[in-house]
């Protein structure tokens, strides 16, 4: 396998060096956090970890976190499994559209989701005002509550359950269902005895993912919980950092450790069940069994469409309405409709332009850098022994699996002092956010590339090798063109996630260094809901068009790279 030793080993060394660097960078923040959180344990009761564990607010926030994430998971489970079962297994029509619309909430940033729901309810809702259904002034905003948070967390993470379940349903060979039917099982018995047991692990894994994602969510509990004084762990950290600054870093590290451990426990649970779901099914899968809905088809279609109307269309309509009125509480009609908010955010507000520019630079830069790293990295990883490969992948996944707040705290700890030797201070600059994005989103870019590389027939490269192509030439002329769509999709996904990111940047931004996510959050916090809505509408349009362009790319990608395509 090594035709020319010197060149072969040189190229392997370079790639190995890159891999080691990436692994170290992925691991460094978590290790730094661990060291900080466990420091001074010898001081007994005064150690930061003990202080945090003794504080009542910690336990209150923990119980709030568990409550909202737990209930949110149940909502996600109900919604996600309804859609997954119906869309995957029955003969309902318009499947592609249903999937796209159901997946959209996952891609819309949480702060926008929260904002749009806030526009839907409450006495000042322009939509309710316009249709004359607004509650009297002074009545409370129902979403400023634990249940409001729970509902939105559930809607936001339902696509995760949907995806996990759909994957496991699609790999269910239809012979298994047919064998049961010919044994005499009626449709409902087929569900209870075959479909549910075989896909149970997919359900559990999806629920675990929904739980982890809700646990780490910042945008929703921040916008709905902080006004009501209802704090979960991520917003507690945010609020402390906002009030006391870096002085409380040690305690925040301890708090982060707490969420981190919870999230990782969830990840472990999910991996365990994912492993169990691999029954090694034989048979012709891929074409799932079509349960005939018969005369219930219209009814079921109406049900799904109305769920989508409630969870997607209504809040988005409210958002659009809010962006078109002169001020909150004014009904929308021919006289009041105005594009002022858009003029304001695009034309005059210096902060909007700055935030957009920042976010585009950060997301675009991260996407490009990660695309450049992903190919050689995936290439080297593929040649590692399976166990080492899995370990490396888990390490790279760590910054993404951890809640964003945890990563943010870890990055502050790591860079709060100027870098040694070169003496550059990253803290308080866009550079810090950039580094955090690189660590967080590497795995998003790497996964499609790895999947695509794994599908590549090794003989293609071997043929080039026999023809005399050296390793770099093979990588650039054979592998790269074949992997390009996956690489591009990875980059696009990174951009999509990073450009709307709030959780990490909420803790890392500083004046002049706002991101798009922070901008919406700050506008809403400052009572500028109309402006926030206008920015959000632009963001939703951007998300939808990026998703559509990914869909166009989908036929050239390995299965599963574009999450909302079967």
């Amino acid at each position: 396998m090594s035709p020319s030793l010197t060149q072969g080993s040189q190229h392997r060394w370079l790639l190995t060096l890159l891999t080691l660097t990436v692994v170290l960078l992925s691991l460094a923040p978590s290790l730094r956090l661990l060291v900080e959180a466990l420091s001074d344990l010898t001081q007994g009761g005064n150690a930061p970890l003990w202080r945090v564990l003794q504080s009542a607010s910690t336990w209150r926030a923990l119980s709030h976190s568990l409550y909202t994430s737990g209930l949110g998971m149940l909502i996600a489970l109900a919604l996600g499994s309804l859609f997954a079962f119906v869309i995957t297994l029955t003969d309902i029509r318009g499947k592609a559209w249903l999937v796209f619309c159901f997946m959209l909430p996952m891609m819309i940033p949480p702060q926008v989701t929260a904002l749009s729901w806030l526009q839907l309810f409450g006495p000042a809702s322009p939509l309710l005002k316009s249709i004359g259904m607004a509650p009297p002034l002074g009545s409370p905003q129902p979403l400023y509550s634990a249940e409001g948070i729970t509902l939105l967390l559930g809607i936001q993470s339902a696509p995760l359950v949907f995806l996990a379940l759909r994957t496991s349903l699609l790999s269910l060979p239809r012979e298994l269902v047919e064998a049961a039917r010919i044994s005499g099982a009626r449709q409902n018995q087929v569900w209870r005895h075959i479909v549910l047991p075989v896909t149970r692990s997919g359900l559990v894994a999806g629920s675990a993912m929904a739980f982890i994602s809700s646990l780490g969510n910042f945008g929703i509990p921040a916008m709905l919980g902080i006004p009501a004084g209802y704090y979960v762990l991520p917003t507690l950290i945010y609020q402390r950092m906002a009030s006391f600054g870096t002085g409380v870093l040690a305690e925040m590290a301890a708090l982060s450790l707490l969420i981190g451990v919870l999230a990782l426990a969830g990840v472990a649970l999910q991996q365990h069940w994912m492993g169990r779901s691999r029954f090694g099914l034989v048979g012709h899968s891929g074409r799932a069994h079509d349960f005939s809905l018969g005369r219930f088809r219209a009814l079921v279609t109406v049900l799904l469409v109305s769920v989508l109307l409630v969870i997607l269309v209504a809040p988005l309509v409210a958002l659009v309405v809010s962006s078109l009125v002169p001020a909150m509480g004014v009904p929308l009609n021919a006289d009041t409709a105005t594009l002022n908010a858009y003029h304001e955010v695009i034309g005059r507000q210096g902060a909007t332009w700055r935030a957009m520019r920042n976010s585009f630079w950060l997301a675009g830069g991260a996407a490009v850098v990660l695309m450049l790293c992903s190919l050689p990295l995936a290439y080297r990883l593929q040649r590692l022994p399976a166990r080492l490969q899995n370990l490396t992948l888990s390490i790279i996944e760590l910054p993404y699996a951890l809640p964003g707040v945890v990563l943010a705290i870890a990055c502050i700890l790591l860079f709060v002092r100027p870098l040694p030797i070169i003496n550059v201070a990253l803290y308080g600059t866009l550079g810090l956010i950039f580094v955090a994005y690189l660590a967080r989103f590497l795995v998003v870019c790497l996964k499609p590339v790895s999947a695509s590389l794994a599908q590549l027939d090794p003989s293609l490269e071997e043929a080039a090798q026999l023809a005399g192509a050296g390793p770099w030439r093979r990588l650039s002329t054979i592998v790269m063109p074949l992997i390009a769509p996956a690489l591009f999709a990875g980059g696009l996904l990174v951009f999509l996630l990073a450009v709307n990111e709030l959780t990490v940047s909420a803790l890392l931004w500083s004046a002049g260094n706002e991101t798009l996510g922070v901008l919406i959050f700050n506008l809403d916090e400052g009572g500028e809901s109309v402006l926030a809505s206008a920015v959000s509408v632009l963001v939703v349009l951007m998300v939808a068009s990026l998703m559509l362009s990914l869909s166009l790319l989908a036929p050239r990608l390995p299965k599963g790279v574009v999450p909302w395509q079967g």
Partner: protein, 348 residues
């Protein structure tokens, strides 16, 4: 146990007719094979029998019950059939015993009766020691037997088998063929067996339906199929033999040796009738042929243990296959006696 009647059954996928006007009557307890080359519509026909596909035209009856027509469709779970899938389709989350017992559970069989019947079914395929394993821990042949046991645990009126031996190696195939025959003898169920392997079909079936491009070409016992194939295509598909053109005879007639040899002697322009001559109906005389004899040259020979297969070429250029106990010399001229031949229909 009941017979099956198929009347003009048709299945259309878009423009393409996968099964085209297929009619046949299967007697109760009969073991029939659907035989044909890949893509001729066998699986589609079987799935229509099971009820997984709706028919586009025609009717299927079980005994005197209408199972399927264009307007009417009895669901698979109400047909009281059983099926062995090519991929076995064992449920991965159930043990071997649970897999086998599942159809019983659905029929409300419980307790000691349930235990007894599961054990009985497992013992029939010699798998009792494996009852508590999961299907993933079994070999291909064992999975096959579990699927079979699941079929026989209830008393299905029809058992459908879709190329059940395709995934197995040659030795296992032979022993499984044996157990199918055995299974059929014991249960006396009506069985429909899909295969593209003619020797499998000949060995197992009472009657064989030969299919070509969705159409039924011949429906007969293995012996008839071998001795009296209807068309040229069937003759070349089943068994070995040579097809010659002669000037006498008519489709569906058996010709004696003399008639055959005379028909062969006519000038080529008058020979319009295809005739099948099986190798066992050709006598080869190695001693130097005389003027009147039909002669041929030895082109190639293959040793088959008990005999040699001799590939001959006649003066007119036609090839013939014959058997001979001893090896001959390549290029040697031999005299031939043809004992009988079977006149074929041309292909549509």
């Amino acid at each position: 146990m009941a017979g099956l009647t198929l009347k003009q059954v048709t299945k259309q996928f878009g423009e393409h007719k996968a099964v085209d006007g297929l009619s046949l009557t299967v007697e109760p307890g009969e073991f029939v094979a659907l035989l044909g080359p890949s893509g001729c519509g066998k699986t589609t026909m079987l799935r229509m029998l099971a009820g997984f596909e709706q028919v586009s035209g025609g009717e299927i009856h079980l005994g005197d019950q209408l199972l399927a027509s264009e307007q009417h469709h009895v669901l698979p779970e109400q047909r009281n059939m059983a099926m062995v899938f090519q991929s076995y389709a064992l449920w991965p989350h159930m043990s071997v015993a649970d897999n086998v017992g599942y159809p019983l559970k659905l029929r409300g069989v419980r307790g000691a009766d349930y235990q007894r019947r599961v054990e009985q079914a497992l013992s029939l395929v010699a798998l009792e020691p494996y009852a508590q394993r999961t299907p993933q821990d079994l070999s291909g042949g064992q999975r096959q037997r579990v699927a079979l046991a699941r079929c026989l645990v209830t008393d299905p009126s029809v058992v459908l088998l879709d190329e059940p031996l395709a995934n197995l190696d040659r030795h296992l195939r032979a022993s499984m063929e044996h157990s199918f025959a055995d299974f059929h003898r014991r249960t006396e169920a009506t069985m429909v067996y899909v295969t593209h392997d003619q020797s499998e079909a000949m060995a197992l079936a009472d009657r064989i339906a030969v299919m070509q491009a969705g159409k039924l070409v011949q429906w007969a016992t293995p012996e008839t199929l071998y001795r009296e194939p209807r068309t040229s295509w069937v003759a070349s598909f089943i068994g070995q033999g040579s097809q010659l053109m002669i000037s006498t005879g008519a489709p569906g007639r058996r010709l004696g040796g003399n008639e055959l040899m005379q028909g062969l002697a006519s000038p080529a322009a008058q020979r319009h009738q295809a005739v099948l001559v099986r190798p066992e109906h050709i006598q080869v005389h190695p001693e130097a042929p005389s003027e009147q004899d039909l002669t041929a040259r030895v082109e190639r020979q293959t040793f088959r243990g008990e005999r040699y297969e001799i590939h001959l070429r006649m003066q007119g250029g036609e090839t013939l296959l014959a058997y001979h106990p001893h090896a001959l010399k390549l290029g040697q001229q031999v005299a031939l006696t043809l004992l009988e031949g079977w006149c074929l229909e041309p292909d549509q």
